[in-house]
């Protein structure tokens, strides 16, 4: 009985990954545009760093390379993190746009399966896109990664996935609560994360309230940890505090976000919001 039930849910879980793959393929022109947009954004940051010396703002060549790597790691990670966040956060909105929200929400599956399926598809797609951009950076810039500890960077990157998905699920609740304004709020959340998480600067430069908010953002620890590993060769054991914080945040955020989503779904059913027109 349990085995049948698990098989049923796994089949549906795969169904969401398969569906997303088909959607990415069918919307290939848009996906190509977004990829180009992300690539251009990251390259702009890289060339901005290159241009610092001509502006007389950077003294030594090694300092320039460090600054460039610092900014590029931030830009590349933000591209990945924001894309995964967007895909998960807009899970409900997307279904509403397509007009399939009712069909998906009346399917005989657990909501957790639905959400995890979307998360898994987003992670796979996000990694693929970030890999293409990362490869382009390696080819176009002379990056000094001689000190990099890839294992530690990968471990932090993997640990960051858990709280990131929690944040995404939390944000996906917004369009469920308010079909009219939820989408806009989700974009606002993404913007605030960019500001407070130290994507292009250490969060210590922020005013106190924003600095405190940055301490609460899991993206802060992801960016700081990966930078330490890639720029300064921080060991895996040295990265454990960041990994621990990320896993702890994930352990809180994921169950809390799934619970919040289920409460929001109950409310949406009470108010009649579970429909395409809102």
């Amino acid at each position: 009985m349990i085995a049948t039930s698990v098989r049923f849910e796994l089949n549906a879980f795969w169904g969401f990954i398969e569906r997303q793959k088909n959607l990415y393929r069918r919307y290939w022109a848009w996906e190509a545009v977004w990829l180009l947009y992300n690539l251009v954004s990251v390259l702009s940051i890289g060339y901005l760093a290159s241009g610092l010396s001509s502006l007389g703002l950077q003294q030594s060549a090694s300092g320039l390379q460090q600054a460039q790597l610092y900014l590029l790691v931030g830009a590349l990670l933000w591209t990945y993190l924001s894309m995964v966040f967007f895909e998960v956060a807009f899970a409900v909105t997307w279904e509403r746009w397509e007009g399939t929200i009712e069909y998906t929400f009346m399917a005989p599956i657990r909501r957790l399966t639905h959400l995890l399926g979307i998360c898994a598809a987003s992670l796979i797609y996000g990694i693929a896109r970030a890999a293409i951009i990362g490869l382009s950076l390696v080819l176009l810039f002379k990056l000094d990664l001689s000190h990099a500890n890839y294992l530690a960077a990968l471990a932090i990157f993997a640990a960051s996935t858990v709280p990131l998905l929690g944040l995404g699920i939390f944000t996906s609740v917004l369009p469920l609560l308010s079909p009219e304004k939820g989408d806009q709020l989700a974009f606002a959340v993404q913007g605030v994360l960019l500001l407070i998480s130290g994507v292009y600067y250490p969060i210590t430069v922020l005013p106190l309230p924003l600095h405190l908010a940055g301490i609460l953002s899991p993206l802060t620890y992801t960016l700081a940890g990966v930078r330490q590993a890639l720029l300064h060769g921080q060991s895996l054991s040295g990265s454990l505090p960041d990994i621990g914080i990320l896993l702890l945040m994930g352990a809180i955020l994921v169950p809390a976000s799934v619970w919040t989503f289920s409460r929001a779904e109950i409310r949406a059913k009470r108010l009649g919001l579970l429909k395409r027109s809102g």
């Binding site: 089949n11 007009g99 005989p108 009470r270 579970l274």
Partner: protein, 279 residues
């Protein structure tokens, strides 16, 4: 999904004193927000639907038909009363209800850029299949519904509305529901597509064990397709019976139609009611 032994003696649908109201009366809790006027969509509705056959829910726009269907589909929770599908409560046993139902709505719910095959594969996965043999089953179903197989891999948006509605019905067949909820499946279709979809509905009665609950405001359609009709107006059940019984009981005269019976029951024609709503 197959009916289990414990479900055999239960009715397909049992609704008791079901009420649903949208909006809030009085002032909004937020001072800057205007209070929406409240609307009683269902007002202590009670009805029963036996297994097999086609039961029509007949009413004008805004009569509460779709609200009833959405509650049975577990997409909406009632304010009061209860509703059960094959003995399972739609609120407390929603998961069990979902295993037995599927829904074809007035607008086909599809990912428009994806093909019929991709949409149907997605549906199959949600309902526990999708492995080997699914493609063959889908092709056989579409062929039976008269859809050319070259439409199978074209984006849904390139199909006509009639074709899309046929794919929606094919998709519901794929999941073998015990109760099929059809919410105005022919609304907005051209006469030819409408007739084809109606023939499909008739074939469900002929070929399958599924119970069909068909919401419509098309009186002729109800008269031709339905074994039993429930007339609903302003959220209340006004009458129920076979089309012939309703005509005899409420229209009387020789040559009377279901429309005559409906007019007598509601005090107006469906068309007038829709015009009122549009205004």
């Amino acid at each position: 999904m197959a009916i289990q032994a414990s479900e055999v003696n239960t009715r397909a649908v049992e609704v008791l004193d079901l009420s649903k109201r949208f909006g809030r009366t009085g002032r909004s809790r937020l001072p800057w927000r205007k209070a929406k006027s409240a609307r009683q969509a269902l007002d202590r509705v009670s009805l029963q639907v036996d297994r097999a056959g086609i039961t029509g829910i007949l009413g004008a726009n805004g009569s509460g038909k779709s609200t009833l269907i959405r509650i049975l589909a577990t997409l909406l929770t009632p304010d009061a009363g209860s509703a059960a599908v094959f003995g399972y409560d739609v609120v407390t046993e929603a998961a069990a209800v979902r295993r037995h139902i599927n829904r074809v709505s007035v607008e086909a719910s599809f990912f428009k850029e994806m093909s019929p095959w991709e949409n149907m594969l997605y549906a199959a996965r949600l309902y526990g299949s999708g492995g080997e043999g699914t493609r063959a089953r889908v092709e056989a179903t579409l062929e039976r519904l008269g859809l050319p197989l070259d439409t199978l891999d074209r984006p849904m948006k390139q199909l006509s509305r009639g074709q899309q509605q046929k794919v929606a019905i094919a998709r519901s067949f794929l999941t073998s529901p015990s109760l099929l909820l059809m919410d105005e499946p022919t609304t907005g279709l051209d006469p030819r597509s409408k007739r084809e979809v109606q023939e499909l509905v008739t074939s469900i009665r002929r070929d399958r064990a599924a119970t069909v609950l068909l919401c419509t405001h098309d009186l002729q359609e109800a008269e031709v397709l339905c074994d039993r009709v429930i007339v609903i107006d302003r959220g209340r059940v006004l009458a129920e019976g076979t089309p012939a019984e309703l005509i005899n009981r409420h229209a009387g005269a020789d040559g009377a139609t279901l429309e005559d019976a409906f007019m007598r029951l509601t005090g107006k024609r469906l068309l007038e009611d829709e015009e009122e709503k549009d205004e």
